[in-house]
């Protein structure tokens, strides 16, 4: 095992290059949108974007999942609708997925 505090110059270089690439993706979309003419179509697209990202994120997880994930997803949605409280829906979702996984 290597010394905990070792910092190899090549490794540091690669890590910093990874950091630059990542930052470019985090800043790039925002920068680009700020420079585009905000036509109605761009507005409509931007408006739909966060919901579309959320759905694209979750749908494959549920498609790959089983009964624990599906019941936890249903519980999360119900709690989110009823309470509008993020922490409540997160807690219930994680609790249900754990509980059902233990049972199944």
């Amino acid at each position: 095992m290597r010394e905990a505090v070792v910092l190899d110059p090549t490794v540091v270089g690669v890590i910093l290059a990874m950091a630059v690439v990542t930052y470019a993706t985090k800043a790039g979309g925002l920068w680009l949108v700020g420079r585009v003419d905000r036509s109605n179509r761009v507005e409509a697209g931007l408006d739909a974007l966060p919901g579309a990202v959320a759905v694209a994120f979750v749908a494959p997880v549920l498609a790959d999942g089983g009964v624990p994930e599906w019941s936890a997803a249903a519980a999360t949605v119900v709690v989110a609708k009823r309470t509008g409280n993020l922490l409540a829906s997160l807690t219930v979702g994680v609790a249900v997925v754990l509980a059902v996984r233990t049972l199944v």
Partner: protein, 238 residues
């Protein structure tokens, strides 16, 4: 639909300590969940041959869970530099879309505040912040606050995982793998606009699921999200 956008346009966002604190408080429970992945990253990084300091440096400067996990999987001597950087870019492409979605709320800030905040964007605090802004929080420092607490716990968890990896149980046993899906589900509930959302969401879900089967990494998020946006724009034109 565009009415809401205009409301956002007309309001200037603050960037204050109040928002920062609110972000830290709201971000903490989610960051604890993320720390579970930080442990996993630390363990894998240690096995891949990174020192604790190198793993911590990566978590502190890159701050992108999926990209870091895949990078340390690719980690061999000599380092495959091109593959590492290409993979990082591809896995992180989704941040272009996440950043674009944040722009309406950040556009009135100074460039320094904006471009400092985006460094701290991760999937989790992006979802938290979009939810908060959409529900009327008019302080963009919420994004920075929730990002900073996530960043700190991510680094701490990396160090713990890399140092004491073999003593830690698999975090999926605690259900934290469902934190992110639950977060995005809650976000989706808030974005539901009735019939108007049906077709764009069906497009996002269908294309996302198909892309996840056929494409590697995180392409499914990009493909699915773009499909949803295209459907929404076409519906507007129709």
């Amino acid at each position: 639909m565009s009415k809401r956008r205009r409301e956002i346009d007309s309001e200037r966002m603050a960037f204050s300590g109040v928002g920062l604190r609110a972000g830290i408080i709201a971000g903490t429970p989610v960051a604890v969940g993320v720390a579970g992945y930080g442990l996993v990253f630390g363990i894998i990084a240690d096995r891949a041959g990174l020192s604790v300091a190198e793993a911590a440096l990566m978590s502190a400067t890159v701050l992108a869970g999926a990209a870091q996990l895949i990078a340390v999987e690719l980690w061999t001597e000599p380092l495959p530099v091109v593959a590492l950087l290409t993979t990082t870019a591809v896995v992180n492409l989704r941040y272009l879309l996440l950043g674009a979605a944040l722009q309406p709320w950040l556009r009135s800030l100074s460039p320094l505040a904006t471009y400092t905040s985006v460094f701290f964007v991760a999937d989790e605090n992006w979802a938290l912040s979009i939810e908060a802004f959409r529900n009327g929080r008019r302080d963009a420092a919420f994004l920075l606050g929730s990002g900073i607490v996530l960043w700190l716990l991510w680094i701490v968890a990396t160090v713990v995982g890399a140092t004491a990896g073999e003593f830690i149980e698999s975090p999926t046993r605690f259900g934290i793998d469902f934190v992110l899906p639950a977060l995005f589900l809650t976000l989706a509930v808030g974005f539901w606009e009735g019939r108007q959302s049906v077709l764009p969401w069906a497009g996002a879900a269908g294309v996302g699921i198909a892309a996840e089967v056929f494409l590697p990494g995180k392409w499914y998020i990009i493909c699915g999200a773009l499909a949803g946006v295209v459907v929404a724009v076409v519906m507007r034109d129709a």
